[in-house]
């Protein structure tokens, strides 16, 4: 969504800095997994607000529906049944874009302005600039972006940038009946999380903690987890997510070095010609051939 009312921090495929004079606070969405009842109101609210409708799928024998994120389902509830100390735990995680501070999608994107990071931390796809290459999919450490089969554009959670721009909480947070989805400044959300974590620890979850992974510079969607030491329990939430070293190499040092190498080879050729002169057929050999013809 193109929105001028939010300040831009970073723009894909752009090598000069974005305007930085205006300072805004970072926002965050906090998902308290321990308070989630798996009602999917957030999924419905997301569809409603963003006017996206997924196909009515089929039952896969589990609660997850749809079973994966799609271009029309920007958030999905993932239900994991885990046995902990002889007790069944139903770990329900609302999956979707984490809005990384160091977004792999933005780093990988070759189209200027197709991916925008706002100063408040929201990472947004601007589909009008998207060329449909899918590099964002390769860049993302959380497997979030999806390319539409219909229009070949990439889609994901916008953190309701349009609502946030007018001081409204994201649709999912607004719809959550248990307060499991909180929204506010990142600082406030961390404070709120601390209280929740203290409460969980009191109730026996010694490893409760905040999921705000440093490998991607922190995220603007954070989780309160009862088992923060093992995020993988929550339907494969990555332990130490970071932009893949392959992507960093491809989109990092390779770009300027290769561009410089190409320029040097082209210029080197020109200067070789100018300094050494062309490689002409020698007069001697031309005369030899002429002589043979005359015989």
């Amino acid at each position: 969504m193109a929105l001028q009312s939010l300040d831009i921090k970073q723009r894909s495929a752009t090598t000069t800095p974005a305007p930085q004079a205006r300072q805004t606070i970072e926002i965050a969405k906090l998902i308290d997994v321990s308070a989630c009842i798996g009602c999917k109101a957030c999924q419905v609210a997301c569809m409603e607000w963003n006017d996206v409708r997924d196909e009515v799928g089929s039952c896969h024998g589990i609660y997850d529906n749809p079973v994966d994120l799609t271009e029309n389902s920007w958030t999905v509830m993932r239900y994991a049944e885990v046995e902990e100390q002889g007790k069944l735990e139903w770990l329900i995680r609302k999956d979707g874009c984490m809005h990384c501070s160091d977004p792999g999608c933005l780093k990988a994107c070759p189209a200027p302005g197709a991916i925008i990071q706002y100063a408040n931390g929201i990472v947004d796809f601007h589909q009008e600039n998207c060329i449909g290459c899918g590099y964002c999919v390769s860049g993302c450490p959380f497997n979030v972006p999806r390319i539409s089969k219909k229009d070949s554009k990439a889609y994901k959670c916008t953190l309701c940038s349009d609502r946030v721009a007018v001081n409204q909480a994201p649709a999912c947070a607004k719809a959550c009946p248990t307060g499991a989805i909180q929204f506010g400044s990142k600082e406030d959300m961390k404070d709120y999380a601390e209280k929740r974590i203290a409460d969980l620890k009191e109730r026996g979850y010694q490893k409760a903690g905040l999921y705000d992974p440093a490998g991607v510079g922190g995220t603007h969607v954070m989780y309160v987890l009862h088992h923060a030491d093992r995020p993988g329990l929550y339907s494969g939430l990555p332990q130490d997510p970071a932009i893949s070293p392959t992507v960093s190499l491809w989109k990092g040092v390779t770009k300027p070095v290769a561009a410089a190498a190409l320029g040097l080879v082209a210029l080197g050729s020109l200067f070789h010609y100018v300094m050494k002169g062309p490689n002409e057929v020698s007069k001697e050999i031309e005369k030899e051939v002429e002589k043979e013809d005359a015989q």
């Binding site: 290459c133 999919v137 390769s138 190409l262 050494k276 057929v281």
Partner: protein
């Protein structure tokens, strides 16, 4: 069209057409590929009707290039086998680049540098086509780690390929009387005698 009936035929019409088909594909692929590679080159997508069109066309042009390249490979592979004379030539390439070819060993239809170029281009093409298929998202869906590696390999192989082509085209421009072999197929006998003496002998019986 014969300019001088005694000129030597270096390339047939179909070899030339084949070469130019590969060449045109390469130029289009390099322009669109560079656009995706570095933001400084992104405006090149305008040659293709914008970003999405460049993204759509690039892999199809790639497929065409591979097909044309495979045919060209089989036309010329036999002529590009490395020999001891080629290695001797390559060991003295510094003198050649310096503009002094007096001490260079006698060469057949292709010199060691051209042969090396041929095999390096072939190698680049293999890496480019395999990695290109792996990262062709609109047609295929491979594991993300595989696609990441393919993306890196594709970029590196493409840079190597572009460097090779710059050297290839420059060598043709630098060596006067060469480019016409790719326009209308012939070279002068003096050109052949100077640059590819063994081939000159084979063609003229002298």
């Amino acid at each position: 069209m014969i300019r001088d009936p005694k000129d030597l035929q270096r390339y047939t019409a179909s070899e030339r057409a084949n070469h130019w088909l590969v060449g045109i594909c390469f130029i289009l692929l390099a322009l669109s590929g560079l656009a995706f590679f570095h933001p400084a080159f992104y405006p090149l997508v305008q040659f293709f009707g914008g970003g999405p069109w460049a993204r759509i066309l690039h892999p199809f042009i790639g497929v065409l290039m591979v097909l044309a390249f495979v045919i060209m490979f089989f036309r010329f592979a036999g002529l590009n086998r490395m020999t001891a004379a080629d290695r001797a030539w390559l060991s003295r390439i510094g003198e050649m680049v310096d503009g002094n070819d007096h001490g260079m060993p006698e060469q057949g239809k292709y010199n060691g540098g051209q042969k090396l170029m041929f095999w390096l281009m072939t190698l680049s093409m293999i890496v480019l086509v395999i990695s290109g298929v792996l990262m062709w998202r609109s047609q295929f869906s491979f594991a993300v780690d595989v696609v990441r590696l393919a993306s890196l390999a594709h970029a590196l192989a493409a840079v190597v390929m572009i460097v090779l082509i710059i050297v290839h085209a420059y060598a043709a421009i630098w060596t006067k009387g060469t480019v016409r072999a790719m326009w209308y197929g012939t070279v002068t006998r003096a050109w052949a005698k100077q640059h590819h003496r063994a081939w000159y002998r084979q063609m003229t019986g002298k």
